[in-house]
Amino acid sequence: MAGNKPRASSFSRNFSAASNTISQIPGLKHGPNGTMFLSSGIPDLDKILGGGFTLGSLVMVMEDPEAPHHMLLIRNFMAQGLVHKQPLLYASPAKDPRGFLGTLPSPMFSKDEKSRDRDVEQEKGLRIAWQYKKYFGEQNSEFQRDGKSEYCNDFDLRKPLERHFYSGQQIDCISLQDSADLTTFQDRCSSFLSQTSRNDRNITCAGRIAIQSLGAPQCDFSDKECDMLSFIRSLKSTIRSSNAVAVITFPPSLVSPAFSKRLQHLADTLVSVKAIPDEDKELAKLLTGYQDMVGLLSVHKVARINTQVPTILEATTFSMKLQKRRSLILECLNQAPVDGSTGSSYASSSSCSGSSKTGSLDF
């Protein structure tokens, strides 16, 4: 799976005792350049993005009109927030957004389920051919998994989130359908974000905002693109100075291309989901694991705050699979082995565009 190694410099932030309190807040962890991360709810996505969603950033998800995969991302995001007891604001074009809360997945705990055991076993059994081993004794590299709450949970999409996660939580649900314009929604967002503003040094908690399908045709303001743009701009500026993350999904096929481009530029982290055709023999021949795939996820931009260095990912497109129909995993796309008659692919360079089927593949 692609992960990116942060550039290690000789300077490192001195984490004094005062900021140790931050690491004790569940659900937050330190990132490079003085930023902090919160989890997206999908362990693979956190790895790809280098730790999670940066606090103070705006995440945009471009929907595919033919597939509901953006809902998977939003569900995991919201469920992770509830598990970590972070305040949540959810808005959607449905008449009753509270109903969506019933579809949130439940976390799988490592004690009951062996969700990630393939990784663990490989690490335990790692044999190193190291020529200086003879100078040292046997060193145990134990994989410590403590009982503290994890930064990112694996979610079981088949089980609904238990009731005790909802109780005592601040969850605001807003329906976007009836409002003629976005001013009331904007006020709600501002008041939500003022709770988690960054003025004081100590963070109590981080907030999450999830807006589903901004620009869906049911809403009256969908054709007022200037209003939507100014709303997103003000949201972005408010979020930058608060300890929250906003995830917004929008359907690029239903809005004008200029508006879609503007939204893509406004995003700090940009991700898109795509549907795949069912029972497509060509794709089944081309990709391994096609049977289990439900869709494709592409990462276009990763948030980089307080730095000028961009993140360059090894791979930008991942296949979305449901492992055991339960948890969402993201994998690099793997090409199926080419049969011997065509042959030249193995001998070609490691870049994957060297495929012998010239006519049918267009990378």
Partner: protein, 376 residues
Amino acid sequence: MAERICRALRDGVLEGEHAPALTIKDSIQSPFGFLVFNHVLSQLSSFIVAQKSQSQGIVLVALSRGPLYYEELFKSKGNDVSSSNKWIRVLDCCTDPLGWRSKLMESGRIANLTLGTSTTASLYKNAKDLDKLLLAITELGKELVGDGKGRFAVAIDSVSEMLRHTSISSVAGLLSNLRSHDQVSCLFWLLHSDIHETKATAALEYISSMQASAEPRTRPVNGQRGNYEKLPFLEQNLRGGKIHVRFKRRNGRVRLMSEEFCIEQSGIKFTPISSEAEMMARSLVPKVQFNLQLSEKERNDREKVVLPFEHQGNGKTIQIYDGRKSLNEDKPEMQYTSAEKVQTVKDSGRGEIIYFRDSDDEMPDSDEDPDDDLDI
């Protein structure tokens, strides 16, 4: 495949989800959308009468053709019209959609029209107000199935007519509210795609879960519009065409299917497509990499390989192997081949590393070979 659509509508909605919604699209090149609509409507009504479907009734919102047309349709298909008020209600938005006739009648300008309406039709005069339309539809539905767990299907004769009177956002709102209504089992509508903006068509496709579009059987080679008026094309395209269906499945994959249809006296007939399947666009698959994971067998083999320094630190004397001597233990003979790199050989027994020295023709103790102290 038209069967699949009808079956999907018949099976209806699962608890807690949105109702399946079908868009039937056509255009001037293949203007047979209404025939497909009639086919789907009559299939669904026969399922309902035979009580094989989830829905117990249909509410038909008739915008482009009046209720009398539908009575004739049902009679010709053999459905029993006399009992039709048990399973169908027609909301007549065709006779007087904006209420002009009734205003004129009130003011005495025109005489009262006696329309031979059946008992199943109710007149609706407010095509511009979709909230009231939603209310009217749901009330008619409740009349049909009662207030409890019963469900009804909704058929909208032509969303294109609706879009004449109101904006796309209110139509989209109406359709999505119907989809999420507790008592609606399934929903389908007809759309003429070429008389609307692409944004409107895209919005309706976004809301629907299945799309069936009627297209001409043959397209002219150079794509000029004038060719459509050429007689052979016209003749062929007016006798039938192709229907392409896109299903949005629950797991997020899209099922694409095609069939041919031809127009006959009795209506429309579907046949599976004769020519070979079309190529799917593969441009959606970006860079793929080779598989770097190991299968189970490969992993087992890897476990068995003895690594170079592994046995060190066990108390035995350390023998540095430099690839030229042959060892006295049970290792196979080394072959001295020049210009070979270190290879890992996996076999069923102990995995071994066969080391071919890089620079065999050089003097020993040469500093250039970094594998000097490789110890296997």
